[in-house]
Amino acid sequence: MLDISGLVSGYGRITILRGVDLCVREGELVALVGVNGSGKTTLMKTIAGLIRPTGGAIRFEAAELDGRGCERAVEAGVVLVPEGRMVFPRMSVWENLMLGGVHPRARARRAASLERIFDLFPRLAERRDQHAGSMSGGEQQMLAIGRGLMALPRLLILDEPSLGLSPLMVQETYAALRRLNGEGLTILLAEQNVKLSLAVSSRGYVIENGRIVLEGASGDLVRDPATRKAYLGRL
C-alpha cells in the first residue's frame, strides 16, 4: 500500500533522512521505533506532505506523494496524527472533529463519521463542547485520533501517541488502535516506547540516524539483541 524508497529529507540545509526504505501492506499495523532525533517525526511529516523530500520516492497505492503537499496525501487517504497531538486549542471537540472532515471525500460522510467516532471514544461525546485546550493529554490524544479518522484515512499514521500520557490512557489509546486495525484500518505507528509498539504491531522497523537499521516481524525484533543495542539497553 505504502512504498517508500530511498527517501532523503530534512529541514533546509540539514538532512535528517538519508535514504529510507519502508513499506506498509494493506491491513497491517506496522511499528517504527527509534530514539529522539532518529528521524521518526521527519519521516512521518514527509509522508504526510508537510515536508518536501529532496530525494527518493513515496508511493501510496497508485499515487505519488513525494513533495506534493498535505492536501494530496489526505485526498489519497494518508492521514497523520502528529506528535504532540496539535489539537486546535480554542475550539471545541466537535469543532476539531468537524475540521478533520473538510476535504471533499470526507465531507459527504461527516455526520456518519462523527457518530462512529463518538461511539469509539465515548469520552469525547461527553466533552463535545469542551475546548480542546482544557482537556488532558489522553483526551487530546483521543481527539487527535478521532480528528484523523474524520478524514477517512486508508492509512493512519501516528507520531508518538503515547508521549505524555498516563499509563491508563496509553492502554486505552492502544486498545482503540488495536480495535481500528481489527476493523481493517492500516496503521503506521512511530514510537519511542519499543515494548508497547512492538507488542501491538505485526511488523516493525528500527530507525537510527535517518536510516532503517533493522526490520522484521515484531516478535523477532523484540527478542533481537540488535534492537536492544539500537536502544542502548532501554528495553
Binding site: 504526510a48 506532505g49 508537510l50 503537499g69 498535505c70 492536501e71 496525501a73 489526505v74 485526498e75 492521514v79 497523520l80 502528529p82 496539535m86 489539537v87 486546535f88 486549542p89 480554542r90 475550539m91 469543532e95 468537524m98 475540521l99 478533520g100 473538510v102 476535504h103 480528528r147 478524514a151
Partner: protein
C-alpha cells in the same frame, strides 16, 4: 460642561467606536491568518470611500446602494492582490510583507491624489443633514446608520467565523497552521480568502460611512493607525477585545476632544497605546 453635552459626546464616541472596531476586526482577520501587518489597510478603506464618491459624482448612485458592489469588487481585488503580490513576498518573511504594505500605502495614497486631486471632497447621501432626535440626544442619521452597519457587519463576521465551515478553517489556520495543513486544508487558499474578505469588508464599510467623513488623500494612514491601536489595545486576534477596544478609543477620543481640545483628543489613542503596550502587552482582554 453640562451632562447633556458629555452624553452627546460619549454617544458619538461609541458610534465612531463601532466603526473603528470593524476596521480593526478586518485588520485582525488579515493579521491572524497570514501574519501580515497591513499598513495600507486604512488606504483601502479610503479607496472604497473615494470609489463611492466617484459613483455618486458620475452616476448619481447613492453610497448605500453602491455598498454591495464595492464589497464584491474589493473582495475580488483583495484575493487578486494576495495571490499576485502579497503571497510571493510573504515567502520571504512577514517583515518583508509589512514592508510591502508600506509601499502600497505610497501607491494608494498617490493613486487617490492623481485620480481625485488634493482637494477635500464630501459625499452626500439621502440621509445627509438629517438627524435622529432621541431627547436629549441629537444624532446625525449618517452616523447612526454607519455605526449600526458597522456593528451588524461585526456580528455577521462573528457568526461566519464561529459557525461556518469556512470560519472554522480560518480559525484553524490561525491556531495551528501545520495541523490545519494536515487536515487537508489549503492554507494558501484560506489565506487568500481571508485577505479578500478583510479587504472586501472595507469595500463594504467605506460607502456605509463615507458621508460623515471629509475625504482627503492622506486619510488612509490615520485610519490605519487607529485600527492598529484598537487591535493592539483589545488584544491581537481577540474579537471581543477589538470591539471593546474600538468603543474605548472612540469614546476617549470624543470626550478628550471635547474636554481638552482636538489635539489632545488625537493624542489620547497613542497615549493609550503606549500604556497598554508597556503594562498589558497582551491587550486588555488578552491575545487569541
Amino acid at each position: 460642561m453640562s451632562g447633556e453635552v458629555l452624553l452627546q459626546a460619549a454617544v458619538q464616541g461609541l458610534q465612531m467606536g463601532a466603526i473603528y472596531a470593524l476596521i480593526a476586526l478586518s485588520m485582525t482577520l488579515i493579521f491572524s491568518v497570514g501574519g501580515l501587518l497591513n499598513f495600507a489597510h486604512g488606504d483601502f478603506l479610503a479607496l472604497a470611500m473615494y470609489g463611492s464618491f466617484i459613483l455618486y459624482a458620475a452616476l448619481k448612485v447613492d453610497a448605500y446602494v453602491a455598498a454591495p458592489f464595492m464589497f464584491l469588487l474589493f473582495l475580488g481585488l483583495g484575493i487578486l492582490l494576495f495571490r499576485r503580490l502579497v503571497q510571493p513576498v510573504l515567502a520571504a518573511g512577514v517583515l518583508a510583507g509589512a514592508q510591502l504594505t508600506l509601499g502600497l500605502v505610497f501607491v494608494e495614497q498617490n493613486l487617490i491624489l492623481v485620480l481625485f486631486g488634493g482637494d477635500y471632497h464630501t459625499v452626500p447621501t439621502v440621509l445627509s443633514n438629517r438627524n435622529l432626535v432621541i431627547a436629549p440626544l441629537v444624532m446625525p442619521w449618517v452616523l447612526v446608520v454607519g455605526s449600526a452597519a458597522a456593528a451588524t457587519l461585526a456580528a455577521v463576521l462573528y457568526v461566519v467565523l464561529m459557525r461556518s465551515d469556512f470560519g472554522r478553517q480560518v480559525r484553524a489556520v490561525t491556531q495551528n497552521r501545520d495541523a490545519a495543513a494536515l487536515m487537508g486544508i489549503r492554507i494558501d487558499r484560506i489565506q487568500a480568502l481571508a485577505f479578500g474578505l478583510g479587504i472586501g469588508l472595507l469595500g463594504l464599510t467605506g460607502p456605509m460611512i463615507v458621508s460623515q467623513f471629509t475625504l482627503s488623500p492622506t486619510m488612509g494612514l490615520d485610519l490605519t493607525l487607529v485600527a492598529l491601536i484598537v487591535m493592539v489595545i483589545g488584544g491581537i486576534g481577540n474579537f471581543l477585545g477589538s470591539m471593546i477596544g474600538g468603543l474605548i478609543i472612540g469614546v476617549a477620543e470624543s470626550l478628550g476632544s471635547l474636554l481638552y481640545g482636538g489635539t489632545v483628543g488625537a493624542m489620547i489613542p497613542y497615549g493609550l497605546l503606549i500604556v497598554v503596550l508597556l503594562f498589558r502587552p497582551r491587550g486588555l482582554l488578552g491575545e487569541r
